[in-house]
Symmetry: C2
Subunit: 168 residues, 2 copies
Amino acid sequence: MTRWEPNARARLAQAAMDLYREQGFNQTTVAEIAERAGLTERTFFRHYADKREVLFGGADDMKDALLAGVANAAESADPLTAAAAGFLAVGAALEEQRGRELAGQRQRLIAANAELRERELIKLASWASSVAETLHSRGVEEPVATLAAEVALAVFRTSFEYWTETAD
Amino acid sequence: MTRWEPNARARLAQAAMDLYREQGFNQTTVAEIAERAGLTERTFFRHYADKREVLFGGADDMKDALLAGVANAAESADPLTAAAAGFLAVGAALEEQRGRELAGQRQRLIAANAELRERELIKLASWASSVAETLHSRGVEEPVATLAAEVALAVFRTSFEYWTETAD
DNA sequence: GACAGTGATGTCATAAGCTGACATCACTGT
DNA sequence: ACAGTGATGTCAGCTTATGACATCACTGTC
């Protein structure tokens, strides 16, 4: 006998996503999520630093894809093109890992809640800052690196919004 | 006899700012702030929606200055120049209302705390979105309006960072 | 000049997010 | 066998935030 069901973290994420969609983010308590996942509230907080973070668990993978995309851009590419290559890689990873439908659900959840939007923004800001750093290591000087990263992010955001809005 | 000391809101803001600086944001409880201001915890939450908001009370004035700056830019100005005019107005308002020193203290507080940075970002994002809207009403079409607003914001942020870092 | 609002504040109770300390016990390697 | 490890449980507690109701100086009206 195994002492516990496996994949506690994934079960928590699934339960949270379902409940947030069923009742809304604010109306869902961590206790409910834990219960549906067959765990305790305390264990939820061992896997996710807070109630919001459960929706951003995959962000690290995306960041990896993003930076790899920038780093692997043709050496001849200008800064903006290199940054854009990173965000294109994110788009590909998104479509592959989550599918348009799931990404759309998640995005609608975030859009509907101010706290979640805050968290989203800080993740994106950290992306921009990492992209700028990667550009810098490609030889792009400041402030061009930061500006290229921010512009690419702005374009990505606009496109992504369109992409999710037309998902269903 | 007046029943209560006047300027409760300002007293709360002052007490909060002082305590955040003395002990850090996380180490300060709302009860402490209220006590120092000679009020109760409940009253704090009547004036400020949450513990963070007390640091962003003046943001509405800034937003007004920002949008006025965009709206009043020369009619012949291109989108980016108009957006930049808005952020220049913010800079002027900042210097005038708070002074470089106070703005610097506030900014260092925000930089030191993730929750505060989240709140800052969402305020700035709402600025960008309002600037885009104002540009739109000047006849600038999407996605140029949004992009101009985002770029101007990125430049502003970079400059502002430098400005506060050299404040003392 | 009494008197009925009004509005800022106080008081109390409670939900919910989060954290520290310690207990449990299947599993792992020796 | 047996000690150690690590994921989870249990419990106690702090803090943020909100709703419901009470208080009472002030304001205007008759």
